[in-house]
Symmetry: D2
Subunit: 268 residues, 4 copies
């Protein structure tokens, strides 16, 4: 880990705590929830209302979607950002959204609170440098093929450009196992914490790709020491334009939140 400097505990930096409109990531458990993609104002507002009610701390939703096929729904773009902004105000929820292009970084910052770098762009170094220059926290997903050392080096790209606010997010790596969409690598949570001072959260939705596994893996993530969760919730998952099989209903999310909060309070 010799190249890891600013992101390393050896830099002397204390555990990084990132404040986003009063939500303090790294200090207490933070749950970010929302749909895979912003599909319409109605869909987002209904979902945002539900996750707020269940106790989510932040809202997620993709306006620009990195889809395997060019013929799949690519997201609503600017229109999606405006819908996110509306939900942000209406429900007093800080908003996280993915940025795909270095040209979009600056103007997207006007609409959202946290910029997400997705797994496919983890080593898009131009994009990393660009988000390193802005004044917004960055949620950096681990690439599906990436070693811990490479992931921390990507954080280092952002930190070395001047932005100290990086939230790491484990979202499953690619293996031979096909029952789950990816293989959630929870060992990386305590592993990151012994090397780095950055907060690390877990996305069991993309990792498992199965509704039935999201709650147990959320609980496991908390027990492993994660600083938070990123959970896909849709007010009607069966009508979702992407990731149908891994979005929770509001009721499922409510149940998850109750168990997660209880476990977390017992572990303190």
């Amino acid at each position: 880990m010799k190249d890891i400097k600013l992101a390393s505990k050896e830099s002397g930096t204390k555990r990084t705590i990132i404040e986003v409109n009063g939500v303090r990531i790294g200090e207490r458990l933070v749950v970010i929830a929302g749909p895979c993609a912003v599909e319409s104002e109605y869909q987002l507002m209904k979902t945002a209302e539900a996750v707020k009610k269940a106790g989510a701390d932040m809202l997620r939703g993709g306006a620009f979607k990195p889809r395997t096929s060019p013929y799949s729904f690519q997201g609503l773009g600017l229109k999606g950002l405006k819908i996110l902004e509306k939900a942000r105000k209406e429900f007093d929820l800080p908003v996280v959204t993915e940025v795909l292009d270095s040209r979009d970084v600056n103007w997207i910052c006007e609409y959202v609170d946290v910029l997400q770098i997705g797994a496919r762009n983890m080593q898009n170094f131009s994009l990393l440098k660009e988000v390193g220059k802005v004044n917004k926290p960055v949620l950096l997903k681990r690439g599906m093929y990436s070693k811990m050392s490479e992931w921390l080096n990507c954080a280092e790209y952002i930190l070395s450009e001047g932005n100290p606010n990086v939230i790491l997010c484990e979202r499953g790596i690619r293996t031979f196992e096909t029952y789950t969409r990816n293989t959630l690598d929870l060992s990386i949570v305590p592993a990151v914490k012994e090397i780095s001072h950055l907060p690390v959260i877990v996305d069991p939705s993309h990792a498992t790709g199965r509704v039935s596994l999201i709650k147990p893996m959320s609980l496991a993530a908390i027990a492993a020491g994660a600083d938070g969760l990123l959970i896909e919730v849709h007010y009607k998952p069966e009508e979702a334009l992407s990731d149908k099989d891994q979005q929770l209903t509001p009721d499922q999310f409510q149940e998850l939140m109750e168990e997660v909060r209880e476990l977390y309070s017992n572990m303190k």
Copy 2:
């Protein structure tokens, strides 16, 4: 999962509970602990005493060791079994040991309570058929390259020979990540439970290969719904003949047991 018959919940079998000298696996949390290998009577007795004191339910220890190199310590064989038998009586701890050869199955049964099939022998079908014929529970480790469906088919080999008492054990799969020895796939725990009625335990020692990660991953395993843990403990890990870096000291194990028991009681 069409080939999974006897091991499947669809068989109508209720959750399997396996009783080993009063320890009921599948009913309440079971912790199996002990050294990687039986190295001497002194080493095993000291370690057995420590794990008993800390509250372990069963004792593990290898008498036949499947080592990568033919020039590494291969285990004490029969002498090791006799030492295990002694510790078993002295500390009233049921004993688990690995069997490597179909010729050894019958006579090893006279010394131990549970036969372990190691990851490298998961698809040693001759051995599976042989342990399917005896009257001892089998702890079946997942191969480091094996899909859940293949693992359950290996359980099916044992069940179809007449032995219904199979304990599945996740011990990490092989991926590109090198920080940990293997990648612990905790999602497999709730995944197995939605397909099969067999109990499933977790071995964080082999999975992580790092002392510092064993406690957090033990807690995560419990939170994910595991029925038990398999933990390597050595009274002096620094002098171990194998797996030095992943065996806990008695003190570390004591601390792990306390946190694990507390978490488990809070989750009920």
Copy 3:
């Protein structure tokens, strides 16, 4: 590679050449062909006749089959060995067959010329030790999850018991790619040759699992420096009891042999 002693070029051993009834493996290109499993006398004799006619050097055929499910065809056992022996005499083809159980090693030797250790048993160390004690060459397949160093250590197990005649066989490793059954790792061929003096052959049938890819990968294997090929051929693949999609027809094998022989003669 510090543990690799007898299998290493550093041992001072010249390139190992293994003679089997006049076939010299390691000296010139050797092609081993035949069905996945011996299914009947008629099937084996018809297939053996075809591969002999096309120029195969040796005959393969499984009498004991390591199948994922206990409910799949497990091979004809002794009856299959007797059929192999008959074909061996009739067509003057040395025979390779897989051995699954350490108890069977000695008596199987009476029927065949080369013992095969399959991928799933690569680290079945009891079996390796047993085939290390007999006077027959061993074809050692690489495990689907195994590093070169581990594979060579398995050869070391055999060599250190006194049997110097080990033929290594690359048959594809397990990765995330699903288009092919496994991922054929041809780089291992020149890699093995820079570390070890043992001959190495390639099995493109199991590696690709697709008839259409077997010829190009056979040619690639020769170009990479392989000492031979292991090719699945069935006189009627559509009626095969296992591995239907990867067995060549006699005509396809004839065509493969012609191109392979031509490429090999051009490369000398």
Copy 4:
């Protein structure tokens, strides 16, 4: 492969042949060679002279380098492009260089003949769309974690924007094997050719990461049906600023070219 439309043979498109200043990729074997990175005018000119003399068809060299660490040499940028342009004229070699940022696509086109999308950016969809809009062929490397279907979908992103000239390049995938830098998946070459009409070349330098394996894997690639090779050559590899262990000397490259050309002519 249902999403693959324009890149599919089922589209009715004949095998794509891409002409770059007289070099016809997809028609006859094309070898692209040059250093990992442009380091200085002297280094590039000396290397270009050597690869031209040995018979390379095109020159490669990175001006923008995607490095794991932000503290490693990041390339000469515009200065590097100007050096490439000079070598291009001096030695009449079309030039391939990597583009990392969607903002750079247009102006880089003024200096080079082929734009490369690196493995880490394979699913940088913004960049793919951008290179889909320009009038230069694109060399699209396979991501180290990517399935064939995902790779072809990335080609589809480029084709669907209007640019029909995509050259696919296999460069090794990430597996558990550590002897080689990556695992070269040569089966993908005939596999791509049965699904798509696009040309596919092979990069054995990044795949193996070892000078000793580059020639055998180049020969194997030709035998597997590859349309060309991408080979790293440096006039003094021991002084290279990146990828020291996988760049050939001019003499090694000369020898490789001779054997490759001979094999190719024998295979026609």
